[in-house]
C-alpha cells in the first residue's frame, strides 16, 4: 500500500470539496429555475408561455419566438464562423508554421480577451449601416448583423480548440502523408481533419454554446423585436436578451415568471450541447474499446 502523506490528503480533500460545491451549485440553479417555473404548470400558464405571441399588454407571454431567435442566431453564427476557423487552422497548422503562424495565433488569443461590448459597439457603427443599405427596408439591426458579429466573437474559441486538437495529433501522420505526396491542403483535408473529427466537432459545439449564451451582442444588434426571425434582415430577440430586458423592467407579473421559463429553456439547451460533446467523446472511446476486444478475440482463436 502507498502511504498518503498529510499535504496530499489535504489537497485531495480540498479538490473533493471544490467538486462537491460546483456540483451542488449547478443542481441548485436547476432546481431553483424549476421552482420558479412551478406556478406556470398550474392552470394554462404553460400553454401561454410556450406560445408564439409575446404581447404583455394583451396578456400574451409566449417565449417561442425568442427560442427560435436564439437557435437561428447561434446556428447562423456558427455557420459563418466555422469555415474561416477551419481556414485559419489550416493556415497556421500546415501552410505556414513560422513567424506568420505565431502572429496569427497571438492575435487569435488576443481576440478572446476583447470585451464583448467592443464588438457590439464597433458593429453598430460599421456593420449596421451597411446591412441597412443592403436590405432597403429595415433598420439594420437584424439577425444577420447579430450573427456576423457573434461569429467574430466565437471564431477564436473554435480556432483555438481545433488548433489544440490538431497539435495533439501524432506528427507522424503529417510526415507520412507528406511522404506519399499529399500537398499541405490534402494533408489537412484527408488526414488531419478526419483524424481530429472529435476535436473539430467539440470545437463547433463549444462555439455554438458560446453563441447561444451570449447576451450583449444580440441585445445591442438584434433590434429586440419579440417576433419570429423570418429572414436575415428581420429584427428579433434572443432568449438571453429577453431575460435581460424583462428583468430590468418588470418584477411581478406573468411576464416576470415567463423569464424563468426562458432561463430554464436556455439552461437545458446549453446542457444538451454539453451532453452532445460528452456523447461524441464516449461513443468514440467505446468504439475503440470494442475494436480492441474484437482483435483480442481474433488473436485468441
Amino acid at each position: 500500500m502507498l502511504k498518503i502523506n498529510p499535504p496530499e490528503k489535504w489537497i485531495e480533500t480540498g479538490l473533493f470539496m471544490a467538486a462537491v460545491v460546483s456540483a451542488v451549485a449547478i443542481v441548485s440553479i436547476l432546481l431553483l429555475l424549476i421552482y420558479f417555473c412551478l406556478p406556470l404548470f398550474s392552470g394554462n400558464g404553460l400553454s401561454r408561455v410556450f406560445s408564439w405571441r409575446w404581447q404583455p399588454i394583451d396578456g400574451q407571454f409566449g417565449i417561442l419566438p425568442m427560442c427560435a431567435g436564439s437557435l437561428a442566431l447561434s446556428i447562423l453564427a456558427l455557420g459563418i464562423a466555422f469555415p474561416p476557423a477551419i481556414g485559419i487552422c489550416t493556415l497556421v497548422h500546415v501552410l505556414s508554421r513560422g513567424v506568420f503562424a505565431r502572429i496569427v495565433l497571438i492575435l487569435t488569443h488576443f481576440m478572446t480577451g476583447i470585451p464583448t461590448v467592443i464588438y457590439g459597439f464597433v458593429s453598430v457603427f460599421v456593420l449596421v449601416p451597411r446591412i441597412r443599405s443592403l436590405s432597403e427596408a429595415g433598420t439594420g439591426f437584424s439577425l444577420l448583423t447579430a450573427a456576423i458579429t457573434l461569429a467574430i466573437l466565437i471564431l477564436p474559441t473554435i480556432v483555438l480548440v481545433c488548433y489544440t486538437r490538431l497539435e495533439q495529433l501524432d506528427p507522424v501522420l503529417r510526415l507520412a502523408s507528406a511522404a506519399m505526396g499529399f500537398t499541405p491542403i490534402q494533408q489537412m483535408r484527408h488526414v488531419l481533419m478526419p483524424a481530429a473529427t472529435k476535436g473539430v466537432a467539440a470545437a463547433a459545439i463549444l462555439g455554438l454554446g458560446r453563441a447561444m449564451g451570449d447576451t450583449l451582442i444580440s441585445l445591442m444588434l438584434a433590434g429586440n423585436a419579440a417576433q419570429f426571425p423570418g429572414s436575415l434582415f428581420t429584427s428579433f430577440r434572443s432568449l438571453t436578451a429577453h431575460i435581460g430586458l424583462v428583468v430590468a423592467t418588470d418584477s411581478q407579473s406573468l411576464a416576470y415568471q415567463s423569464v424563468f421559463a426562458a432561463g430554464l429553456v436556455l439552461f437545458l439547451l446549453v446542457a444538451a450541447l454539453n451532453l452532445i460533446i460528452r456523447k461524441t467523446d464516449n461513443r468514440i472511446t467505446a468504439n475503440a474499446f470494442l475494436r480492441v476486444q474484437e482483435t483480442r478475440h481474433e488473436q485468441n482463436f
Partner: protein, 252 residues
Amino acid sequence: MEPAVVISNLEVLFFGKAVLKDIHLSLWPGRITVLVGPSGSGKSTLLRAINRLNEFFPDCQTRGSVSLHLQNQYHGDIYQNTIPLSDLRRRVGMVFQTPAVLPFSIEKNITMPLQVTVGLTGSALTERMTRALQEVALWDEVKDRLKSSANTLSGGQQQRLCLARVLALEPQILLLDEPTASLDYKSAARIESLLLNLKERYTILAISHSLSQTRRIADRVCVLRQGQLIQEMDRNDMADIRTFQGLMEAAF
C-alpha cells in the same frame, strides 16, 4: 544503364550542425543497396534527403545535389525544383522506421492515398489494394476485416500495411527504413523475398541493422558513420561470411 539516383556532395544540417557531409552515392534500378551504420549516424536523414522530407523539420538545410533519372526521363537536381514536390514524393516511396498507419480502416489506409494523389476510383482501386496486400503477404490476415481500424493491427502487420500502401502508389524508387524491424522471423523472411522480387521493378535503398539480413538481400552495402560514407561493399566482399564480418567490424 543510367543510375536512377545520383547524390553528389550532399550535406544536411540540422540547426547549423552537419548531420550528413560529403555524401556521394548512386543507386541503380534492379539493385538493392543496403545502408548500415551505428544509431545516429544519419541513415534515416540520408533516406529523407532523397524525397526532400528533411525540409519538413524546422531549421534544416540541404546542400549539394540529388538528381533523378526515372523511366527514361532525366529530372535533374530535385533541390532545384525540377520536379513538383508531390510528384517527387509519389515516385519515391518511403516506409518509415516505425509504422505510420493512418487512424482509419485498413482498406482506407491504402485506397485513400490512391484516390487523393493518383485519382484512382472504382474497381481499379480495389484491384490495386488487393494486389498490394497480397504482395506483402497481409491479404489472408486482413481480408475479412478490411473495414476495421488499422490501429488494431499488430506492429508487424502495420509495417506490412505501410509497405503495401507505398507499393500501391507504384513508385519507382523505394526507401525502406528498417522494413523488418518489428517483424517475426517468418514475416521478415517473407518481406525479404518480396524485396528480392521487387528489385526487378524498383530502385531500392534500405536500412538494416541485421548483418545476416544485409548479406541475404544486398547487392551493395554502404556504411555510414558520423554522417559520412566510409565504406562500400559489393557481393564479392559479402560472399565469405568471415571477410564480411571482418569488414563490418572494421567499419563500425
